[in-house]
Amino acid sequence: MPERIEHYRATRFEESVAAPRKARPRRRPFALVAGAVAYLVTFLIILPILWIALLSFQPSGNILGNPFSLSQLTLDNYVKVIGSLPLLRMYGNTMLIAIVSVTIGTAVSFMSAFALTRMTFRRRKVQSSLRFYLLAGLAVPVYILLFPVYRLDLAFGVFGTYAALILPYIAVSIPFNTLLLTGFLREFPTELEEAAIIDGAGLARLCWTVVLPLMRPVIATILIFNVVYVFNEFPFASILINNPDMVTVSLAVSRFQGQYTVDYGGMMAAATLVLLPQLVIYAVFQKQVIAGMTVGAVKG
């Protein structure tokens, strides 16, 4: 037996070494071209970002006249903009709204997902149709909600507060959260939870100390997906926030063109300042962010 395995390994090894050796000379020119094309396409894709970064360091005179010159780069635009751009407030507002809405959204989605997959309903039908009801929200595009939500916020007296945005952000996150959470729970065996119940754990303890820790990867995906959504969201913010002290990042960016009318350098410096923290976070958590943003597509 062992010799056979040895022999098998040896032939596999030879194959795996020999095959590419034979193939390589034929493919080399093609591989080179493919590599060059990959780099070229990537360069074209990041070119717009490089362009605004370059403009943000150009003195005003150069932007219209000689934008490619590298000899007179300056920090003037940034110095000008830092005074007029409430960067901290924009990010503070957006983070506050994101943290509150994503935390509550994840919590309520988790609770209902647990009930809809783990608890025993008197009537099974009710359970499955409730799940389907929440999932149906996936088909609803956000813009059909804009005006009704505006009216609702007025009616509830929350218009002009952070809650005006937080409430709809929670609600629109529920369908997607439910999809991922119930999908995970349905495939996951219940033995561990049953053991915990036999050991005397109540509902709250069961969820908090047994189920939640098991679901960390799914929860992480949900958090990333929703935080990115809230950070980038514009239509709701543009309608539900009218207090300049409460502007979100997207809302502030939408006003740059009016704010810096012909001060293109200032506008580009402001845009770069807004973009920079996001790119840094993306660079650090790149793998998780990509996974978090695409998992819905692959799963759904």
């Binding site: 362009w51 932007i63 804009l146 609702l152 529920i174 069961l206 063109q257």
Partner: protein, 289 residues
């Protein structure tokens, strides 16, 4: 698990999500649908006018223009994006030095807020200060009015849409390609299939699901395009470059014709759903035959 399932416990667990979802998603959809049959200017009681709003849209040239623009973006966007991002995914699977970094960079635009994407591209497309016309100038070619003119804006919006979605679509294709079983690919190689034959007869047919997912995602995303137009042209000049959503936004919130705006919102929702379902049905049929 029956031990933890008293009636009030179930209720306490389900109620928060159910109430929030019903109040801020389901009720608004019904509200929009209802208001689309009324004339309402923001105060007093809405007057029921039946299908008049839908009729009015049918005779509104701006609506047809917005529909036409959206369809142009849809066709150009999907026709370029789906094969383009698929090719890019295959390209970045090869042993190119730094392929991981390239994939991260290509995905980058997907994390940028659409509103900021719009602002960035003003500085690429603007006829006077944009990068594109600078390049044309270097090449001795005349300037082109990419945005703000009469005809090119939807194509320019499609270009920006492609830019912001290609990395996302590429990543889905990449993940789908990684899932293909090795033995099938190896078998086709042993059978002497050329790279192109393998692609044509093995890879693409086996990735049909992924193609469907990407195409549907891109279609639904085209029907959501709003921020790009808002930043690039504001829908102008004279509504020539509106998309359906930006025109709905204008009708509802700038013009304050709420009933008309809601009728438009309903039309967009139905259109988006119909196009996606039609695509799904078509790709199923082709699979069956």
């Amino acid at each position: 698990m029956v031990w933890i399932s008293s009636r009030w416990k179930i209720l306490a667990m389900v109620a928060p999500a159910l109430i929030l979802f019903t109040l801020f998603v389901v009720y608004p959809v019904a509200y929009s649908l209802g208001f689309s049959f009324t004339k309402f200017r923001g105060f007093g009681n809405p007057d029921f006018i039946g299908f008049d709003n839908y009729g009015a849209l049918g005779q509104d040239p701006f609506f047809w223009r917005a529909l036409q623009n959206t369809l142009i973006i849809l066709v150009v966007g999907v026709v370029v994006l789906v094969p383009g991002s698929f090719a890019l995914a295959l390209l970045l699977r090869r042993k190119v030095a730094g392929a991981g970094l390239l994939r991260a960079l290509v995905f980058g635009p997907a994390i940028i807020a659409p509103i900021l994407v719009g602002l960035i591209w003003v500085f690429i497309l603007d006829p006077k200060i944009g990068l594109l016309n600078r390049f044309l100038g270097f090449a001795g070619l005349p300037s082109v009015q990419w945005i703000g003119g009469d005809t090119l804006t939807p194509y320019a919006v499609a270009l920006v849409f492609i830019w912001s979605s290609i990395g996302f679509a590429m990543t889905i294709f990449y993940a789908g390609r990684q899932l293909l079983p090795h033995d099938v690919m190896e078998a086709s190689e042993l059978d002497g299939a050329t790279g192109f034959q393998q692609l044509r007869y093995v890879t693409i047919p086996m990735m049909r699901e992924t193609f469907a997912i990407v195409t549907i995602l891109m279609i639904t995303n085209v029907f959501k395009i709003f921020e790009l137009v808002y930043m690039l042209t504001g829908g102008g000049p004279v509504h020539r470059s509106e998309t359906l959503v930006s025109y709905m936004y204008f009708t509802t919130f700038t013009n304050q014709k709420y009933g008309l705006g809601m009728a438009l919102a309903v039309i967009i929702t139905v259109l988006g759903a119909v196009v996606s379902i039609a695509y799904l049905a078509l790709s199923r049929e082709r699979k069956a035959s």
